[in-house]
């Protein structure tokens, strides 16, 4: 087999078959794929045993660089979709994956990405049951783009959504804020900052499932692009209520804080890939925190604010002065002044 991906690998001929057999099938190996059909067939009984609603979600992953501290585009492609299912209360079950590969990508690179996807899927308890590969000419795509779609079942008793949010509810974040965005910005813009910066990219289902049985959990969102700030705005729009958080309560890695000081940026706007924002009733706040703390991905979970009547997102500064938190119109860029 060639050492780099060529247009032939996407052409449907022998090269395609070889690529599928030797890379994808080997890594994702499972009975669904072994049928070699054009579609995966899932027994409905299996799904209905787990719940009464199907959750279905999709996302495309185009990150630059494709490998970064704490993860790679493959891990991200699995985590992102698994997390989008999990925050809706679903048990993530099956993923599809579509690859768009730029001609010339080293085969080793693809192999590493696919292995990473396989490992992450295993960790997350999902199976990759169908997929597709396209190769585009050099320059028509940047190295590799991945789309994943996922399905999961929502247990009958789990009923989360932003319309359940009530005034007085507490806002919890599951861990330190901004790790992924800070890590990627430094590498992508080649800012030369050295330190323990690492993406928080992780599948969150195991953490979130603990909350299925808790009465009083209102809504969850994973704080990806746009950061915690964007999620708070979504909660505001979805609930018609205000979100008020305290700057001093935000959990931050010291290194992320250091980067933000140096570059004049706000960690609230940085993307996360393994953090969830949760709105809960005050009654279950302690129980939720306790459960989150019992899982390695939730040890830094804490309450950062609460839901208020006036429909706006506000941040209370160090001295109690409140200000509006606007959604940034653009992704953060480093500043010198």
């Amino acid at each position: 087999m060639l050492k780099t991906i060529s247009l032939a690998h996407g052409g449907g001929g022998l090269a395609s078959t070889q690529l599928i057999e030797q890379v994808f099938m080997r890594a994702f190996n499972n009975p669904f794929l072994q049928t070699h059909e054009d579609q995966a067939k899932i027994a409905l009984t299996e799904l209905t045993q787990l719940g009464n609603r199907l959750a279905f979600s999709t996302d495309s992953y185009v990150i630059d660089p494709i490998f970064f501290p704490g993860g790679d585009i493959g891990k991200l492609a699995v985590c992102g979709t698994v997390n989008d299912l999990a925050v809706g209360g679903a048990i993530p079950l099956y993923l599809s994956c579509g690859f768009i590969i730029e001609e010339g990508l080293p085969l080793d690179t693809l192999q590493n990405i696919v292995n990473s996807m396989a490992q992450t899927a295993k960790d997350a308890g999902v199976t990759i049951i169908t997929g597709d590969t396209k190769v585009v000419p050099h320059g028509a795509a940047d190295k590799i783009f991945i789309n994943t779609a996922g399905i999961g079942t929502i247990p009958t008793h789990v009923n989360w959504g932003m319309t359940h949010i009530k005034k007085g509810d507490k806002i919890i974040v599951s861990g330190t804020v901004g790790d992924h965005g800070a890590t990627i910005l430094n590498i992508r813009e080649k800012l030369g900052l050295i330190g323990a910066l690492s993406s928080d990219c992780a599948p969150l289902y195991q953490l979130i499932r603990q909350l299925h049985a808790i009465e009083g959990v209102r809504a969850l969102r994973d704080a990806t692009r746009g950061g915690v700030n964007a999620v708070l705005h979504e909660f505001m729009q979805g609930s018609g209520l205000g979100m008020q958080i305290k700057e001093s309560e935000l959990p931050l890695q010291p290194t992320v804080r250091g980067l933000c000081e140096l570059l004049g940026l706000d960690p609230l706007n940085f993307a996360n890939e393994g953090k969830v924002v949760i709105v809960v009733s005050p009654d279950c706040e302690q129980r939720v925190l306790q459960l989150l703390h019992s899982h390695p991905l939730g040890i830094n979970a804490c309450v950062i604010g609460e839901v208020v009547a006036k429909k706006q997102v506000t941040l209370q500064g160090l001295y109690g002065i409140e200000r509006l938190l606007d959604l940034p119109h653009n992704e953060p860029l480093p500043r010198i002044c």
Binding site: E189, K190, L191, G192, L193, E261, L263, G264, Q312, T314, G317, L318, Y319, G320, I321, E322, R323, L324, D326, P328, H329, N330, L333, P334, R335, I336, C337
Partner: protein, 373 residues
């Protein structure tokens, strides 16, 4: 000691506020006729809003946000020159992130990067030099922006380029000198400034002496201040004390960073590489006598404008825009007819709305309720 959190201590802030409240009663200032303190530096503007200092201070004290943000005084036409250069073949255009979103008539550098031109954000000017060494077949152009704080780093970079005989490195010089700017500001009509909060980081380069004309000729206090809340409130205390005693001085609150004489090495390197020459036009301020910073003769070979024979643009601002009045403290951002309408952070008309240190962006970003207009 980490030199940051110690100077944000809420207890110290409370103490200083008590002190300020007591002192302000010993002055003639009222809510309707407040003590107008101009913070020259955008870094102070940012801190005032971030920590809500404007709302913690008594109503007898009013901050006027000054011209000390190099992005805010950047004329639109300069961005068009940047874009012209960035679009030349085999050019890698390097800029600080701050200038990426400033609109020119041809759009912004960010939008130009989106069209496929090679525009890079750098953290240090030395990063641009490294690019020049690694890409000998490319022309690396650095957009040198900033007041005296940023000039020494740029100057050292140019000196290294000369030592290393790099022929593919040049500078688009957009530096501005603070003292001519302040002099011009103080001669404007209708200026109601009672005291100045001096720019801490700029002063660590130039020292305290250059500000003496303000206290001596205009009888106004100047206190060079750090950027943490404790620093700024302590500086307000020092300003109030001067007013009460009617002794007008240049004082240095930021002694942990600012030596009275400034940084002599930095001053020397600025002098070697740059020269103050001619009058430059600044957005909102107009033409300022003797404010033009150019590369000195010895370093002219690194002047991007000469190397690429660039076109000079001069654009008229919207006659309704009040950027100049805001910059000079004659108007609050909310009194500008464009504020929050034609001019928002999403579609900024003026640079004061682009830079997060700009008075308008700060007003917009840190406002505590719905827009009044």
């Amino acid at each position: 000691m980490q030199f940051i959190d110690e100077f944000r201590d809420p207890n110290a802030v409370k103490l200083l506020l008590n002190k300020i409240n007591a002192l302000v009663k010993q002055t003639q200032f009222t809510q309707d006729s407040p003590l107008n303190i101009m913070e020259v530096c955008g870094g102070h503007t940012h801190a005032i809003f971030k920590f809500g200092l404007d709302r913690l201070l008594p109503p007898e004290i009013n901050f006027i946000h000054g011209p000390g943000c190099p992005v805010c005084v950047l004329p639109m036409g300069r961005i068009d020159t940047c874009i012209d250069i960035a679009k030349l073949p085999d050019v890698i255009f390097c800029t600080f992130g701050d200038a990426m979103r400033v609109p020119g008539q041809q759009g912004s550098l960010l939008a130009t990067r989106g069209q496929g031109y090679d525009i890079r954000i750098i953290y240090s000017p030395l990063d641009a030099l490294t690019l020049a060494k690694r890409n000998p077949q490319k022309q690396i152009v650095l957009f040198g922006l900033g007041f005296e704080t940023t000039m020494p780093g740029i100057a050292l970079t140019i000196q290294q380029a000369k030592q290393q005989q790099l022929t593919n490195f040049s500078l688009l010089c957009q530096h501005i000198s603070i003292i001519p700017t302040l002099k011009a500001l103080l001669t404007l009509p209708n200026i109601k400034i009672d005291a100045f909060l001096g720019p801490g980081h700029l002063s660590m380069i130039i020292g305290v002496k250059p500000y003496q004309f303000i206290s001596e000729n205009y009888a106004k206090p100047v206190v060079i201040s750090g950027f943490e809340p404790v620093d700024m409130l302590q500086s307000v205390v020092m300003i109030l004390m001067q007013l009460i005693r009617q002794q007008y001085l240049v004082e240095n609150q930021y002694r942990r960073i600012v030596a009275d004489q400034g940084n002599l090495l930095a001053q020397a390197v600025i002098k070697q590489v740059f020269t103050l020459q001619g009058n430059d036009e600044w957005r909102g301020l107009g033409e300022i006598l003797g404010s033009g910073v150019r590369l000195s003769k010895e370093y002219q070979e690194f002047d991007a404008e000469l190397r690429f024979n660039t076109k000079h643009y001069s654009h008229q601002d919207d006659p309704n825009a009040r950027c100049g009045d805001v910059l000079t403290g004659r108007s609050k951002p909310i009194n500008c007819p464009l504020f929050g309408k034609k001019c928002t952070p999403q579609s900024a008309y003026g640079a004061l709305m682009v830079s997060s240190e700009g008075a308008c962006a700060a007003y917009y970003q840190y406002r505590q309720g719905d827009l009044i207009c």
